[in-house]
Amino acid sequence: MALKVEGLRVYYQTLRGDVRALDGASFSVGDGEIMGLAGESGCGKSTLGRSLILLKPPMKYVGGEVLLDGDPLPIWDRERMAPYRYKKVSIIPQQAMNALNPTRKIGRLIRELLEARGVSSRDLLPELKRRLDLVELSHEVLKMYPIELSGGMKQRVVMVISTLLDPSLLIADEVTSALDVSTQKRVAEMLVGFRDHKFVRSMIVITHDISILYQIADSILVMYAGKLAEKGPTEAIVRRPRHPYTQLLISSLPEIGVRHTERRLSGIPGSPPPLLEPPQGCRFRERCPVAFDRCREEPPFEELAPGHLVACWRAHG
């Protein structure tokens, strides 16, 4: 197991109290696995991603453990976590377009960043160039300022920088969201390429778009309102989802070939519960068409079939 997360709880501190953005997450990601992390806005998926690398206020560590390659990650300690960052865990942030210092040439930025982490930039230069080729960027970008690149180019630069030290775990946070479909496809394929070239051992791809995950992920973890709803192999999640939320979510996605006159799709009525004071029991209960009495108790996140976990009483019953 490359990554093992056990009972992780991370809250957001606000003046009104703690927002329980991530309320107990237990899962693991295997060697060479690309795990997709899906869910709607505010479900806690970005909180989960970020807390694995940089947990800082207003985020608050409440409990849980994280093991990477068998070693515990001190994610609650901002200082002690520093040596693990980049070398062990790395991230492609959501705002990749703004992630580069505007007043440094990209080559120099990379050099200074590597030297600061005690890595010789000279030794890595050939590899850096090889990877720029891989993401279809000319070596000239090293002599340019970020402002001279397009948004997409900046994002690919960030992708190369983030993976340059071959981290064990890469977190890709909404990397494809703002992109056009054609670019989206290439970028998604590049992520897979990073894994195939062993630049990263395993990867968590955070997105709200399940169809992207279907293309590139080995497994998908669906979150709802700060809790894990379902995790399983991609094919199983898309074809045979067991959690009612996953089922409704997937059936609400329009596909090419579907027309409203022929097959009318429908969304999920209602909206997610407030995470400031979340309801007891299953958090999807209010919107769930098959909810019953037992859902007042919290359903366990348990294995149904090998590698397929669901938090739903109906699925277990």
Binding site: Q13, L15, P57, P58
Partner: protein, 280 residues
């Protein structure tokens, strides 16, 4: 919304501190003259006396009561601040709105004007105008200050208007058939109220400092008393050499405290208005 604002406003330490200091001096402006019977210009006592029960802030080289001068000088400071600062805010806001909302060549011209007035040292212009005016009043001083201090406000308001204008609610107002002036007044401006309040506070403080500088070099109002004028006389008539600290400390300290408190109030307001800056 409103209650939340009030809640944070009352809890904010900087805001409370800043406002109390400003209010204290404002109160003193009104109450102060009642506490003293002395004519600020009258030669009423022994010269160069240190503070005493009779003369709370001592007397000048000529035997004038410093406390009386001080409390009478506070009023003009607030007056020039409110009037000059208000005028600067008004001009700057108007130019910023027009330039930012209309865009095009109007924007180009107003922008050019703003840039020119920004590089002209305000003080030098005030200097030459004041020098040629034989009779000067607080009102004229405030108007001149207001007419030269607006550029940074215009620039900031223009930038904000530009960004608000690009928001979709402005488009929605336009396809509701609303006229441009109405959109600025009812859609754009209300979003900037908090910002404009802060601009006014800064302009207020700036106008007080500007006026004090002019008064100090003898280009202030030709009649009346002001804090800047007190410092002018103190320096001219040897308060320094004679060690008469009670003469020059109060006026400068009052200005520094009032303006400083205004700045602190501003930081406090900024924290109240922008949740991101609130103390954690």
């Amino acid at each position: 919304m409103k209650n939340e604002f009030l809640y944070f406003a009352l809890r904010n330490r900087k805001l409370r501190l800043g406002l109390s200091v400003v209010l204290f001096f404002l109160l003193l402006t009104f109450v102060g003259p009642l506490l003293t019977d002395y004519d600020p210009w009258g030669y009423i006592g022994a010269p160069a006396q240190p503070p005493s029960a009779e003369h709370w802030f001592g007397t000048t080289t000529f035997g004038q009561d410093v406390f009386s001068q001080f409390v009478h000088g506070l009023g003009p400071a607030f007056l020039v601040g409110a009037l000059g600062g208000g005028l600067a805010t008004l001009i700057g806001t108007a130019i910023g709105f027009v330039a930012g909302y209309r865009g095009g060549w109007i924007d180009e011209i107003l922008n050019m004007l703003t840039n020119i007035v920004i590089v002209i040292p305000t003080f030098a212009v005030l200097l030459i105008i004041a020098a040629y005016l034989e009779v000067r009043s607080f009102f004229i001083e405030a108007v001149f200050i207001g007419c030269t201090a607006w550029p940074w406000t215009a620039r900031a308001v223009r930038a904000q208007t530009l960004s608000l204008r690009a928001r979709e609610f402005v488009d929605l107002a336009r396809i509701s058939g609303m006229r441009a002036s109405k959109i600025v007044a009812f859609e754009v401006a209300p979003n900037m109220m908090s910002y404009l309040v802060m601009v006014f506070i800064l302009q207020f403080g700036g106008a007080i400092l500007n006026a004090a500088t002019l008064d100090f070099i003898g280009l202030g109002p030709t009649t009346g008393i002001s804090l800047g004028l007190m410092m002018n006389y103190a320096v001219l008539w040897g308060a320094l050499q004679l060690g008469m600290w009670w003469w020059f400390v109060p006026p400068g300290l009052a200005i520094a405290l009032i303006v400083g408190a205004l700045y602190i109030t501003n930081v406090g307001l900024d924290e109240v208005f922008n949740p991101k800056l609130r103390e954690k």
